[in-house]
Amino acid sequence: MILEVKELEVYYGAIRALQGISFQVNEGEIVTLIGANGAGKSTTMRTVSGLLQPRKGEVVFQGRRINRIPAHKIVRLGISHVPEGRQIFPNLTVTENLLMGAYTRRDRAGIKQSLEEVMDRFPRLRERAKQLAGTLSGGEQQMVAMGRGLMSKPKLLILDEPSMGLSPLLVEEIFNIIKTINLQGTTILLVEQNAFMALQVAHQAYVLETGRIVLSGPAREVQANPQIRSAYLGEVQMVS
């Protein structure tokens, strides 16, 4: 078990966004959290990566309690969080954004190699290497954010809605990348609106509703759950 979250309660002011959430991520797995808008998925991710402090509960990473450690130190422990809404650095070039992802690393040669790998994975970014990231299109920005997350060679990669706003082709590609990274040994915690795709790549799944986990289990089982099918997978998928 690489990550364990226990009885997490998180507040925004007086609003209790998480009402006691527990889940586990095993090494080498892809674990997905799905749930409607505002269910608390991003809040959970932010708490794991140290951006938010829980009022109750704890976060344990590789056997070490990390929920009192500041975010910038958690990165060094090997957690990389690709936040929701492409929080890229608009005033930095694409390359600089990617290099920021390796901020905690010191191995120049290794960084260079990682940069090449990311550029290979997203050829569009190589084309735009010198463009300021702020002027990229939405989808291009999402690629920067993903690429940046990979640059730190994390043990646990947290992806918050990586497919948001991407073209179908890219969504597919993103999920392929997720699978590849996972196969190469990175554990992944994935939050997705696109529950359909997420459940296909994930090993384990947790379903969140208004700050609580209402269902969990192997992704296949969750996918097969009729309630989940109607609530999250929608009928639209079936139309054509």
Partner: protein
């Protein structure tokens, strides 16, 4: 010709203050109104160093820079950090408060006192004629310091890890944290460097215009800030360009039109430049992507 030199001297003086101003703005987007007053404290500490305690000049300067760096960090911690996630204007008001505090506190008797102090020249002034242009060693010193500062800042911000960190903190604290950047330290360091530069500026200023008093920072601070805006605030070379323009405009107005109008014309030019380039001379256009 001589007037151009006069303008250059004034311009480089403004640049000395504007550089720190613009750097802090670039990272925290705060018009740090207290910058001019840290500059004043720097001038006083420098003065005490070489004129009262008898330190050699370089040591006096370093001493002033260190003390102001600490002062800058303390100010940030007490007055700005609690407001980091409040609306921008709140920190600006706090900065105004800090500025007034430094001015009035410094003029208390047991601090610096209200007196105007004459600053003895710690070095002999030497007049040179280079290619027929009269210039003094003090002017040369100021110019060299500004150019070195400019170079150092550029290197720091674009070539170092801490510079990268500063540039990311400038846009998004959380995203920077997720990259492993210690946001608090980065901002502290930014204030320390900015304040140390203000102190350096203060000491040189006191040598060039040898008189100091607790309210001396207001006008140079305002002018330097204006220069920074003129050049494009947050952009390091912009501060120097803006300052040089301000220096020229003021000097030429005083020399050939009327010194009564010098501030008026300087600010009129600022407004005109902004109308043509709304984010200053080197400022990037702010077209927001919708």
């Amino acid at each position: 010709m001589e007037q151009i030199i006069n303008g250059l001297q004034l311009g480089f003086m403004y640049a000395l203050i504007a550089l720190g101003y613009t750097m802090v703005y670039g990272v925290v987007q705060l018009i740090n109104f207290a910058h001019g007053d840290v500059f004043m404290v720097g001038a006083f500490v420098g003065y005490f160093g070489f004129a009262v305690w008898g330190l050699p000049l370089p040591l006096a300067i370093v001493n002033a820079m260190v003390i102001c760096a600490i002062l800058g960090m303390v100010i940030e911690k007490i007055a700005y950090r609690p407001l980091r996630y409040a609306p921008k204007i709140a920190a600006l008001i706090s900065a105004l408060g800090v500025s007034l505090f430094l001015e009035y506190f410094s003029s208390l008797k047991f601090v610096f006192g209200p007196d105007y102090r004459v600053v003895p020249r710690p070095i002999h002034e030497v007049h040179w004629h280079i290619l027929g242009i009269p210039i003094t060693n003090i002017q040369v010193m100021v110019i060299v310091v500004v150019l070195v500062m400019l170079l150092l800042l550029q290197l720091l911000i674009y070539r170092t890890r801490i510079g990268m960190a500063m540039r990311t903190v400038a846009v998004d604290h959380n995203a920077a944290r997720l990259m492993g950047v210690n946001v608090d330290n980065t901002i502290s360091l930014t204030f320390a460097i900015g304040s140390a530069f203000a102190a350096l500026g203060g000491v040189l200023y006191a040598i060039a215009y040898p008189q100091i008093q607790p309210f001396m920072g207001i006008m140079p601070g305002l002018k330097a800030f204006t220069a920074a805006v003129l050049g494009g605030i947050g952009i390091i070379p912009g501060a120097v360009i803006g300052a040089l323009i301000m220096g020229q405009v003021e000097t030429l107005t005083a020399a050939f039109i009327s010194s009564q109008l010098r501030d008026a014309i300087a600010f009129a030019i600022l407004i005109l430049v902004l109308l043509i380039r709304p984010t200053g001379i080197l400022g990037r256009s702010q077209t927001e992507k919708v």
